[in-house]
């Protein structure tokens, strides 16, 4: 008998579909209370860091250059007090097979799907990850379907997302495109059930294990080039995978004193599921609309427990404005001779400002660059914004920026200033949400210790947050 394919029926079978599509039973890691065994989930991949690196090296992934951005560093020093302005380096992840660090996540997931005998892979993503999965599937001989949220109700597509669809198709994938809304998950599940493909989720432990090599390489390259560990690593933050995987890789290399900074574009006030606001954003990722909800509630993705848990690793969370990122993207092209981004340059804009807080001999690494192309470039993004009635002008981004209304380009580089987000507020939010979600009246000692690890705090902080 054919299964009912209506919304409620498919969503009701979510757990079973997921289990089939991941080859992993998440119940094994649950305690029955708030806590779950995160490290056991990560170990369940069965791959060591070395094995992951080998898988990646077979498919054009990893060992990307670490570029010193000498002119951008010199520019930052013009706005810093004497003796200040850290050296800024960029991990040129655009050099990966599919043009972004997402190839690291995809390589591991697709290789695992192949090993388990799946015929194809599916991923729900409007970002670079789609192209990464499609590229890896092409190399490893698997079918690939990418499900994208791409259009508003007038059928107008975000240029950056349209470009990502094109790239997926170039690698032979089928791209299913949808209008705005979280019910994308229903279509995703339904196709997953019909095809029996592997869920190459961004948030599976395979995906996150794939990023650990990035952190490890940063540590090794800094030691080789500079004879020291990086003082600060800045990660563009959306779903939290970059922060999680990079930090884990750095720790595996023994970088225990590196400060981990998450950076997102401030899109406060724009609703991510709003049809009318969908095309008022001029960056489709790396923004607070993803960054904050995924940091404070990691388990609302397309897997039962997300392996991306950024608050376990981040020391600071900073924001920059859309105009800052646009400006720095142009600076990267004009002063360093490389066209990258734009969304991946969120960390670069933040690093430009953060460098000014650190002495000249300090080292800041931004963990990624990404490829650029038609639609996925500051000119089409600004042009699209202007067509959508967004006011674009020079000014003071921190004073005048209104997401969805304007883009304020800094009137000179001195106006690129990160803002410190209240990370303790995010930590408290995660703690409260976790306890509420588990429906637990009194958390156990194990729960308290779990929540302390989840937020890089201590049991006292957790207790205080819960009023215990």
């Amino acid at each position: 008998m054919a299964l009912a394919k209506d919304y409620d029926s498919v969503m009701g079978r979510s757990n079973d579909i997921m289990k089939e599509a991941l080859g992993l039973d998440y119940n094994e890691f649950e305690s029955g209370s708030v806590a779950f065994d995160y490290e056991a989930l990560m170990k369940a991949t069965g791959y060591t860091l070395d094995e992951v690196a080998k898988i990646q090296s077979r498919t054009g992934v990893g060992n990307t250059p670490l570029l010193e951005l000498r002119n951008i560093t010199a520019l930052a020093r013009k706005y810093a007090k004497p003796g200040y302005g850290a050296r800024i380096f960029a991990k040129d992840e655009a050099a990966n097979a599919s043009g972004s660090f997402k190839a690291r996540r995809a390589a591991c997931a697709v290789a695992h799907a192949k090993k388990l005998g799946y015929k194809g892979v599916i991923a729900a993503t409007s970002g670079n990850y789609g192209a990464a999965v499609a590229s890896q599937a092409a190399m490893q001989g698997l079918d690939c379907i990418i499900v994208q949220e791409c259009y508003d109700s007038h059928g107008v597509g975000q240029p950056e997302i349209v470009e990502k669809a094109r790239k997926c198709e170039a690698f032979g994938a089928e791209v299913i495109q949808l209008t705005v809304g979280p019910e994308l998950f229903y279509t995703f599940l339904s196709v997953l059930e019909d095809t029996g493909y592997f869920n190459a989720s961004l948030y599976s432990p395979f995906g996150i294990a794939g990023i650990e090599t990035l952190g490890y390489e940063i540590a090794m390259q800094c030691r080789e080039k500079l004879g020291k560990d990086p003082d600060m690593v800045v990660c563009t933050n959306a779903g939290g995978g970059m922060m999680t995987g990079t930090a884990r890789g750095l720790l595996k290399a023994g970088c225990t004193n590196t400060q981990m900074v998450a950076a997102s574009i401030d899109l406060t006030g724009l609703h991510m599921a709003s049809d009318t606001q969908f095309n008022k954003k001029s960056c489709t990722t790396g923004h607070t609309g993803f960054g904050v909800p995924y940091a404070t509630d990691p388990d609302h993705s397309d897997v039962p427990r997300s392996a991306a848990r950024p608050l376990r690793y981040m020391d600071r969370y900073v924001t920059v404005k859309q105009g800052d990122v646009m400006y720095m993207t142009e600076a990267l092209a004009n002063l360093e001779g490389i066209e990258r981004g734009p969304a991946g340059n969120t960390a670069l804009a933040a690093a430009f400002s953060l460098a000014q807080e650190l002495p000249e001999d300090a080292v800041i690494v931004i963990s990624e660059t990404e490829y650029t192309g038609a639609g996925k470039h500051i000119q089409p993004q600004l042009s699209f914004a202007r067509d959508n009635g967004i006011d674009i002008r020079f000014g003071d981004p921190n004073k005048e920026d209104k997401p969805g209304v304007n883009i304020i380009l800094p009137k000179d580089p001195g106006y690129i200033k990160h803002e410190e987000a209240d990370i303790n507020h995010f930590r408290q939010s995660l703690i409260k949400k976790s306890v509420k979600k588990a429906g637990v009246e009194v958390p156990t000692q194990e729960d308290l210790e779990f929540l302390a690890a989840e937020t890089k705090t201590d049991v006292e902080f957790v207790k205080k947050t819960l009023g215990l």
Binding site: Q177, V191, T195, A273, E330
Partner: protein
């Protein structure tokens, strides 16, 4: 007229506005959840007909035929004068200040 075997794009409504029960902002609640995909047309048809296509992975999917030989039109956008202003400013600050 599209021929059987042509590469085409189809459109369908996954959920009508009134069927959407997820937590949504007011504006999105008023919209259908729509879907597009591409594939080889399985029978001769006219634009606007309900058709079946075989997608890149070999899946059969039904929808309204909207485009034959679909292609991308996204671009590098129109001229944005602010971009050359940024270029000029950066070069002045970096290379023109100590003349």
């Amino acid at each position: 007229m599209a021929k059987k075997g042509d590469w085409v794009r189809i459109h369908s409504v996954v959920l009508k506005a009134e069927e959407r029960t997820a937590k949504l902002p007011e504006d999105t609640k008023k919209c259908d959840l729509e879907m597009w995909t591409k594939g080889f047309l399985q029978e001769d048809a006219e634009i606007g007909d309900e058709v079946t296509v075989k997608t890149a992975v070999g899946r059969l999917e039904k929808g309204t035929l909207i485009e034959v030989g679909p292609y991308y039109t996204h671009s590098y956008g129109k001229f944005v004068p602010e971009i050359i202003e940024i270029d000029k400013q950066l070069r002045e600050i970096m290379f023109g200040g100590d003349k």
